[in-house]
């Protein structure tokens, strides 16, 4: 059944510069996962102009962020949106394996 397909969505662009994350959050089905990588990790930060958009979906999406990209950008000391999960590269691989398809929002 196509409705049972589980998707992993990856986003790699800053939500302050592109609408990739916004479109992803609009189209991702409940129960799917979103992984923020590269410049998209800024979307995981609390108290920003896009925090509410992300927080509105953490209840029905699994929202993850790549720790190495957070650390590279000096964000290890900044609070993240509640419910956002930090994963490492192994976690990235696990997410890809656990889902049927991967959609890269470039």
């Amino acid at each position: 059944m196509s409705n049972d397909i589980k998707m992993l969505h990856t986003v790699n662009k800053s939500p302050f510069e592109r609408n990739s994350l916004e479109s992803c959050l609009r189209l991702a089905k409940d129960g799917s996962a979103v992984l923020l990588i590269e410049d998209a990790v800024y979307g995981a930060l609390l108290n920003t102009s896009v925090s509410d958009q992300v927080a509105a979906r953490t209840g029905n999406l699994r929202v993850c962020v790549l720790g190495a990209d957070l650390n590279a950008r000096g964000l290890a000391d900044k609070p993240l949106i509640d419910g956002v999960e930090i994963v490492d590269y192994g976690g990235f691989v696990d997410l890809a394996c656990e889902h049927d398809t991967v959609q890269s929002w470039l």
Binding site: S14, F16, E17, L45, D69
Partner: protein, 132 residues
């Protein structure tokens, strides 16, 4: 023109006001690093240089970059060396900081935080504006 300059140590005869406007996040693209290189090169010409960080450019000077996990060079410490090249006019747009949940305490260099309108006036007073 060669005649515009002399070889003495008392500086160039023509000094222009240069502003470099940084608007891109670091590491995701090459813009931030390339812009920093251009600022450093410009410092060699003894011009009146201002450097602005706005929009995602404010993330370039966030404290605590640790790039070990992404196999890229951490160039954020180079911003602290700008002072040694007499590039001392660093500006940040207040609205950009606020939209990103950042404050002046999050930054690795001393900057002057300006409102959009103050930054607009400063931009308007330049001879050359280079944006990246």
């Amino acid at each position: 023109m060669a005649d515009d300059y002399d070889d003495d140590d008392d500086g160039p005869e023509v000094v222009k006001r240069f502003m470099f406007v940084n608007r891109k996040a670091p590491y995701g693209s090459i813009y931030a690093l390339e812009s920093l290189e251009v600022v450093l090169i410009s410092a060699a010409f003894d011009q009146d240089v201002s450097v602005v960080f706005m929009d995602d450019g404010v993330f370039q000077i966030k404290k605590g970059h640790d790039t070990d996990g992404i196999n890229m060079k951490n160039f954020s410490k180079t911003y602290r060396a700008l002072d040694g090249y007499d590039v001392e006019k660093l500006y940040v747009e207040a609205e950009s900081l606020a939209a990103r949940g950042l404050t002046e305490e999050d930054l690795i260099v001393d900057v002057e935080v300006l409102s959009s309108s103050a930054l607009s006036d400063l931009m308007n007073s330049q001879d050359v504006v280079i944006s990246a």
